[in-house]
């Protein structure tokens, strides 16, 4: 890997980017949003094998193989309908290696290269020919104590790592780590299941919340108290934020009696699809109200049409690379919520999008006005070199730097965390260098801003200390 990778080729710009990057390259990683399994760090058991670590669970990796005709069965992805799948991780690895050129020019390719070299010391490019040799090397690494999860956590220089957890979760692994006094791993309160009346596990989740809180959950008022109690518990376990995934970010407060009747219909199993939509829109209002009250930062991730490919979902379940974005509207949808809470001094709403057209049209204007609104980093498909550059170029002039929330890796692929932060730091250095060579920004200001973007803003927005 070239030390100047991702910087612009213009020599003057590259020199400034190199200098800016050097100022943040080694800063600790602040990870306010992601999907690492807390059990991994709580139990600290060795990673199983290279394919199970790097290929099988990573839908970025497997979707690209699938798009080119590799079947998920061949990749050893566990089926839920009993379909037999490949069980030999070496065969999975070989198939992955045979198709490695597919990742050319993609962020997945950049992350993998960085993981191979940075985490495992592999400088050779993976190919069909060297697949087994590299597998052997990786396998040997994973058997050594310095590749245990906690050793990597420390080697990666992670300052804080936030997980994402259902409202009804026991947080047993967070409790265990806190009891042990190890690390800085924090839960995030994600009540999607509990507020989605049409979710197949809604009743079960309601029961879990009831069991955890002692609430009967028999009425809307009890439901609200249950959520509030769970938020308090999450806070006691270190949470500083909540997260909410919705298809459309509709917000609308229902009258209490209406909300209560809707909730009652859901309990009775008679809620309609429109009930579910209205209740979800109402609950975004109510969850914002709770954030105003308890200070948990509210994150909103709208616009993903989940499980678009029914055949894959039926056989392999969710998170298999079949989620496709839709156009998303914020100005009108968030109008009720922002009018109710957007001026509250203690409230922070971090907005994400899969629709890049909203950066300059809706999100930057909202963030550049409402005290509560902050822009999250480019999300998912846009968490990439070009995607991050587009975000900065499109959002900065209207939102400025200080209404943005730094970077988050949003990943379940633990070994990719340093690579992802490194890409973000390099891209921010590139963007700032472009402003400096065009005399839009002073170099002294850029020195300060590059640290803001890599470290200060994320801590400030997510209330994660200095």
């Amino acid at each position: 890997m070239h030390p100047h990778r991702y910087f612009d080729p213009d020599p003057a710009t590259r020199a400034i980017a190199t200098d800016l990057y050097a100022r943040v390259e080694s800063l600790p990683l602040v990870c306010p949003h992601g999907h690492v399994d807390p059990k991994m760090l709580a139990t600290n058991e060795p990673f199983p094998d290279p394919a199970t670590l790097l290929v099988i669970p990573d839908h970025y990796v497997t979707r690209m193989l699938y798009s080119q005709g590799v079947r998920l069965e061949q990749l050893g992805i566990p089926s839920r309908d009993g379909t037999p799948v490949e069980t030999d991780p070496r065969k999975v690895w070989q198939l992955f290696a045979d198709h490695y050129p597919l990742y050319r020019g993609t962020p997945t390719g950049a992350w993998l290269q960085d993981e191979f070299e940075g985490v495992f010391g592999i400088t050779e490019r993976l190919s069909g020919a060297n697949a087994m040799a590299i597998y052997d090397h990786l396998e040997a690494c994973l058997a050594r104590p310095e590749f245990l999860p906690r050793a990597l956590y420390e080697r990666f220089n992670i300052a804080v790592l936030c997980t994402t957890d259902a409202a009804g979760d026991t947080l047993e692994h967070h409790q265990a780590m806190r009891a042990e006094g190890w690390g800085n791993v924090r839960p995030t309160f994600r009540p999607d299941m509990a507020v989605t009346l049409s979710h197949p596990s809604w009743h079960a989740e309601i029961d879990r919340i009831g069991a955890a809180t002692g609430e009967s959950m028999a009425t809307y008022a009890s439901f609200i108290r249950g959520l509030e109690a769970r938020r308090a518990f999450f806070k006691s376990m270190g949470a500083t934020a909540t997260d909410h995934a919705v298809l459309v970010p509709r917000t609308e407060r229902l009258a209490d009696a209406d909300a209560a009747a809707t909730y009652a219909r859901a309990l009775a199993g008679t809620a309609t699809a429109e009930d579910a939509d209205r209740f979800a829109a109402h609950m975004l209002m109510e969850l914002a109200r709770m954030s105003v009250d308890d200070g948990l930062v509210m994150q909103l991730h709208p616009g993903s049409f989940r499980n678009h490919n029914t055949r894959i979902f039926d056989r392999f379940g969710a998170d298999r690379g079949c989620d496709i974005p839709i156009a998303t509207e914020y100005t009108r949808n968030l109008h009720p919520l922002l009018n109710a809470y957007g001026n509250e001094p203690g409230f922070t709403l971090v907005l994400f999008t899969l629709d890049e057209t909203t950066y300059s049209r809706e999100l930057a204007p909202l963030a550049g006005h409402y005290p509560a609104v902050v822009l999250g980093p480019p999300w998912w498909f846009h968490d990439s070199i070009e995607g991050m550059l587009r975000f900065r170029h499109m959002a900065t002039e209207t939102a400025g730097f200080y209404n943005t929330a730094g970077f988050n890796d949003d990943t379940r692929a633990f070994p990719s965390i340093p690579a992802r932060h490194d890409v973000a730091r390099r891209v921010d250095a590139t963007f700032l260098a472009r402003l400096v060579t065009r005399h839009i920004l002073d170099e002294a200001d850029a020195h300060e801003i590059v640290v803001d973007l890599s470290a200060r803003l994320v801590r400030k927005v997510y209330r994660l200390g200095e």
Copy 2:
């Protein structure tokens, strides 16, 4: 400020941009659309104080401060509900200076820097520490005759300045300047209030038009005659254009009887929201028809959700930085209008947008076909270095250069006018230089085009002479 600011860092491109910019840097400013108060130039009274001139009325400046927790009360913005606000302009200035780093990387920051240095001779960067010294300097400037409005107008080398005026406006200040024979300040006919049946001041505006024209305004026919008479009066005061702000650019001709009945309901106070929408869509047709008849250039500014933040609107009124764009559709909405009038040789329709996705998808194709359609420059949030580059890169290949309307500053911040034109000229020089170094454009052609973009096109489109 660096003399090569905003140009690309590539030495070859920068050299060409520098040359191109030098060819237009000192050309007179043609300002066909903006919001300067004509009273300022008619009375030529000294500007009050630095905060009242540069901070308090500029919603670009204050929205950014508000987004970071500064309250508008602290900024001395007059309230309309009796809430007390800061009255000491020095305190307002200090607060502004304390937060000056918020403008890093924003066009507001670039304009302010240019105003400070270019208009007031301040080369030091504003900060909390030097806030009062700079205030003193500005205050001293403003007391001198060379900083009176007309002196600045002349120093700025303004060739023509168009204001924006309600249909019922007396244009008393325009009349005074014309009587006096000073300057080249022209009104623009903006009948939004008169054609918006739901506007709280609709009845009052109708009465003003009636009083000004001698029309009874008791019927739709009289209303139309009133508007036509006002247009004729605006023309006699030098107007060459009209302007229309709508949320959605719906156009649809109603039958005369339908329009008349709708107007009658509005007079009777019984018009519905759908009446208002249909009447507005109808009036865009009718105003286009009038433009075909009287030759006034028609400008359309759609897509701003005004006063999104109700709490701010209730306390401080309109134009406080709370207007948020929405996605805008032109192809279908303008179909009736363009089919009726888009082929008329004498008709010019200047289209603006807050939705950059329409540049390449709808606006450039429309401008590259209909004789009447011309593209206005990037508007509001997009009147910025990156925004202007995006516009040129996205619109030029389909619309060409000659279906665009040059630059307009669209500002109420009088001292920022030279800075705004200068940014546009630098960006156009940069864009053209990029085409030259990539051998898309000959250098000789670029010499001609840079003058077209800075001077010729705006005069031609807005019929402002040679």
Copy 3:
């Protein structure tokens, strides 16, 4: 024309682009989608005159002239309502030459310049002054055998040229060329007229299909058999693909009885607009099913609001530069089709768009997941230097290189074919060079990819052999 045209000015990037371009500059042209008239190559008659060859039929050329006030009557475009139009091709040419600066910065300008120089050896820039001299030169060229259509086909180094043909077409010219054994010209099955119940020529087209296949076409089942028979015939004439133009890419399978009843209403002349929409959505499903069965690659071109300018359409007919794009939605509209057929190993669906916002939001995610989905090159208004760069920058990170379909020229302007491919090859070389100098891509990989993009992918996707 500069040998390094369209490459980035940065010397390192330009050097790599120059090298990459040299590797593909002379590769044969593979033309899987376009609108060249097969009769031209079957009969091989001399081209009539310069204006009739280069100006009159090219709506890219004439729309720009029209947008600046030149009337189509003056350009000799045949009217269908009896309006007299210019008949002297020299007068048309002079008018075109007088307005030649309008094409500055446009792809039309780039293509014309390349045609003039590359095909006709004209290095002087066209202008009003040299218009007749250049006309004379072109006229003399066209009289010579080396400018006959087939001579140009061979000089252009065309490996395969696919035309676009209605389902009811006799393909007589394709048959003639195949019988003669000349060239590699293939039809493409485009059944738009047959599946659009509201099309004015629907009945006539149904009759043509019936006559060609011996089907009665009296029932929906017979209609389907007729289409299938025509597809088989097209395949026998060398077709490897179908093409479908729709305004909205809605897909939805109707029950057979519903489809049959709708078809019966259409035959009886009682089908409604909603019938037509539902039937079109159903037929996309059914045509995909046929592609799964017969292996013809399915192309989808949605989002063009055809004949937006009614006055022009009424007088001059279709394809006069009056088609304007609309926003297009794929994620939800294609959900039924992709769920039914998107996982089929033998099925290929090439998606095009006029809405660039869908590249990163919808199209790249769909192509990066579904085995069937491949992205076509930037279409129509976006088939341009900047448009192609935007496509690569926005789509590559999510879709990769190998879910894209190479280039197609999509043109009826036969002499522009080499210019169009050359622009695409230069832009791809530029894009790849940018990745190499930023160390996103190895130079060795780029050597391979540039050939993939220019030659291998298009042959693979369209099943056009090695």
